[in-house]
């Protein structure tokens, strides 16, 4: 340590140094390869100067902007969902019958339609069964003629 630095250091401990002098002293002692307690003290201060937050700070203006975007997006989604639900309700109410007699008539018609469909199916099934039995009859007839 040179005599000038020593003098500056003495002045520093008496709290008589200016900001510029202190900066000079910290630069000299903060980087020196010396193991003295004083040098370590300035190194410790230098390390403190380099402390920064690990999480970066958000700009408040952008933060508020993000809030607006979030609110606007929520409103749009809410509007779409609301419209969808309303439309669904409207369309389902078109097919709702409030008069019991008309409802009975409509139900009867629907059941008749299903019933006639089932009857058609029954006829068709009988025909198909008949078709399945035909080869069996042919084979039986042939085998009988061969015996005689």
């Amino acid at each position: 340590m040179d005599s000038r630095t020593k003098l500056l250091l003495e002045k520093y401990w008496r709290a008589e140094t200016s900001t510029a002098e202190e900066r000079l002293l910290k630069e000299q002692l903060g980087t020196v390869q010396e193991a003295s307690a004083e040098a370590n003290y300035f190194k410790a201060i230098d390390r403190r100067k380099q402390q920064v937050s690990e999480i970066s700070f958000q700009h408040p203006g952008k933060r508020i902007y993000y809030w607006y975007v979030t609110i606007a997006a929520s409103l749009v989604i809410g509007l779409l969902v609301g419209t969808g639900l309303w439309q669904r309700q409207q369309s389902s109410s078109e097919y709702t019958v409030h008069d019991p007699e008309i409802a009975l008539e409509l139900t009867r018609n629907a059941l008749l339609m299903v019933s006639s469909g089932l009857n058609e199916g029954k006829d068709l099934s009988a025909y198909q069964l008949n078709q399945i039995n035909k080869p069996k009859e042919i084979i039986t007839n042939k085998s009988n003629s061969n015996i005689y």
């Binding site: 520093y12 709290a15 403190r48 933060r63």
Partner: protein, 169 residues
Amino acid sequence: MSKELFDTRIMPVRDKMYRYALSILKSPDNAHDVVQECLIKIWKKRQMISTIDNPESWAMRITRNQCYDWVKVNRYNLLQVEKSDQADINSADQELLFKDREVWLNKIIDTLPAKHREIFHLREVEELAYQEIADILSLTLGEVKISLFRTREKIKELINKLDTYGLAN
């Protein structure tokens, strides 16, 4: 205009604000939250920046107030921290138990009385002028100078002890 002032005068000071909050609260997470809140507060008052002489000191003062508001709300937690610090300074005073000098010196700085620590931090770490420090802490120039003199005197005394006992050699 006010947005520009905020970006050029306040945003560059955010790390200083963080270090100052950290020196008071001693918790990185809480210091971060407090500074983020301060930035929002200042942003809301950004129209005022053009009328303020020293926006940096103003931001630091807001940081300080916000820290002490936080302390009021979380008083129990801070007391716990202070208690453990007291134990550290006693052990440091008695027989310099820490082998690592830098760790030891950090402990000495951290365990100074709150106001002395703040003045020490603003002067030594942030290199602020005495008047700026006085403005931030609402103290007189004389009080700041005396506090800094006493703090340095104490640190010098502890450093001499360390050198005399030569524990780290």
